[in-house]
């Protein structure tokens, strides 16, 4: 597949981005919980063109035994991109970028999982990027929180994540792949609302301290919105079963 051409402008004269969004607008997000059968917990996210599936296993006996910790669970996280997930087919062998992202994602989730309830076990999080379009590590974290909750693993709270960046001199929310590639900075952020702490923060590019502060505020506002969506997605599954089951009951009584 040929690489898409560099767009002439990332923002037009009316302040509209190439996909029609304003600077402070999130891409459409769809969240689904519990779609896999074998995994203990699972979640799926679409954010713009990102399509990411997360599966969680555990807590389970640590294998190999030597990685186990005596007083808490080990959290293992693997961020992986499918070969067909990007414009130019990616070699299936693990890349250094995937290893780095696996680490920062694990660290962002580790603070919320109540790991000391399960000493000597592992909790495994598998993040599979089926299609990537900028901000995949953040979308991955958003879905991973849901997958952990879906597995029934006790957590302090959910982690929400979103990236901001600088394009054509302006701070913009939730960069797409093209904006990340041709923009001036990319800043992924993950946040926990109750503790009010940023648990993932990276920056790529150049930003003034003021630009950083502005961007961070935009990102945290977006994380608040995303957190609301996460809670809704988690509860929705059970509310649907409840409604369907009770509806059935009502129609039978009437008949």
């Amino acid at each position: 597949m040929p690489e898409p051409k560099q767009p002439e402008k990332l923002i037009d004269d009316k302040g509209i981005r190439i996909d029609g969004r304003r600077l402070d607008q999130l891409r459409p997000i769809k969240l689904e919980v519990g779609i896999l059968d074998k995994a203990d917990g699972s979640a799926y996210i679409e954010q713009g063109k990102n399509k990411i599936l997360v599966g969680v296993y555990g807590p389970r006996e640590a294998h190999p035994k030597h990685i186990a910790l005596p007083d808490r669970a080990v959290l293992r996280c693997r961020y992986r991109m499918a070969p067909f997930s990007v414009d130019e087919r990616k070699n299936p062998a693990p890349s250094r970028r995937e290893m780095e992202l696996s680490k920062v994602i694990r660290e962002s989730l580790e603070s919320v999982v109540l790991t000391d309830l399960y000493p000597r076990t592992t909790i495994d999080v598998f993040i599979e990027v089926l299609q990537s379009d900028g901000g995949s590590r953040c979308a991955g974290i958003t879905a991973a929180s849901l997958a952990l909750a879906d597995a029934g693993i006790p957590m302090r709270e959910l982690v929400a994540a979103c990236a901001v960046g600088k394009i054509q001199g302006h701070m913009a929310l939730d960069l797409s792949d093209a904006e990340d590639k041709y923009g001036e900075a990319d800043l992924p952020v993950a946040w926990v609302p109750n503790a009010n702490l940023v648990t993932l923060l990276q920056m790529d590019g150049i930003l003034t301290p003021n630009e950083f502060e502005k961007g961070l505020t935009m990102a945290l506002d977006a994380c608040k919105t995303i957190h609301g969506m996460q809670q809704e997605a988690l509860k929705k599954k059970y509310l649907v079963i409840k409604e369907v089951a009770e509806e059935r009951e009502e129609t039978e009584v009437v008949a």
């Binding site: 919320v112 000493p119 909750a149 029934g152 957590m155 109750n194 059970y238 079963i241 009951e249």
Partner: protein, 238 residues
């Protein structure tokens, strides 16, 4: 000062604020300062001053005294390793089997071999070691026939029902003997494979719809539609 913030009997998510004040912390709730939060996705229950979240999903966490169904995964020198669907593998020492003490090494697999299902009881368990099981006790030991169903351990209370109402109804209506392991392993013995099949379907239905109203009636109806012969009607409940 004690304030309930979330709505009781409703679904709550991890990190959701349940209450503020000096409530007693039940399962799956935790306190930060004066605020009490949910640690999982579940139903919020308030019982006097106690706040609890009953999980909608989750694996089995061993407790001493629990009846559990497990699968032998290894035969060792002095006992067996058993998969009880928990975060930890369990150990069944040879000394915890009935009969004369200390079977010899080569006798162990004659009692229980890899792949056998055993009904056992949790004898000991703490943070520092794997659960210890025993099969000394009435009804415990190897399961040689019938069907073993695995459901989420979180749904076992619903499968049993208030004062055993759900499980008694299932046994009666399907004509099956059903033994419920706390770890989500349910053993079913029926007079025919068809009876067993209906019982299995009913058990999965409980797992799926545990948190809804009117479940007992819906299941009774499903069983009635299947035309299996249950127990002859008696005037007393089982």
């Amino acid at each position: 000062m004690m304030v309930i913030v979330a709505e009781p009997k409703q679904v709550v998510a991890p990190g959701e604020l349940l209450a503020e004040g000096d409530h007693v912390l039940g399962d799956n709730s935790f306190k930060v300062g004066t605020r009490i939060f949910s640690a999982c996705i579940g139903i919020f229950e308030v019982d006097g001053t106690r706040v609890t979240v009953v999980p909608l999903k989750g694996g089995y966490f061993p407790r001493v005294g629990d009846l559990v169904g497990g699968r032998i995964v290894d035969v060792g020198l002095s006992g067996w390793t058993v998969d009880i669907r928990a975060p930890y593998e369990a150990m069944l020492p040879a000394s915890e089997t009935p009969g004369p003490r200390g079977p010899r090494r080569r006798d162990l697999s004659e009692s229980f071999d890899v792949g056998d299902m055993v009904l056992s009881q949790v004898l000991a368990f703490d943070r520092t070691r794997d659960p210890l099981l025993t099969v000394k006790g009435p009804g415990l030991g190897k399961i040689s026939n019938g069907r073993a169903v695995e459901i989420s351990a979180a749904k076992i209370p619903r499968l049993i029902g208030r004062k055993g109402s759900m499980i008694s109804m299932l046994k009666r209506e399907t004509g099956c003997q059903i033994t419920v392991g706390q770890n989500g392993v349910v053993m079913v013995w029926g007079k025919s494979p068809e009876n067993e099949r209906v019982a299995v379907e009913a058990i999965y239905m409980v797992e799926r719809e545990a948190h809804t109203r009117g479940l007992t009636d819906r299941i009774r109806e499903m069983i009635a539609k299947s035309n299996v012969v249950g127990e002859v009607a008696r005037t007393q409940t089982a």
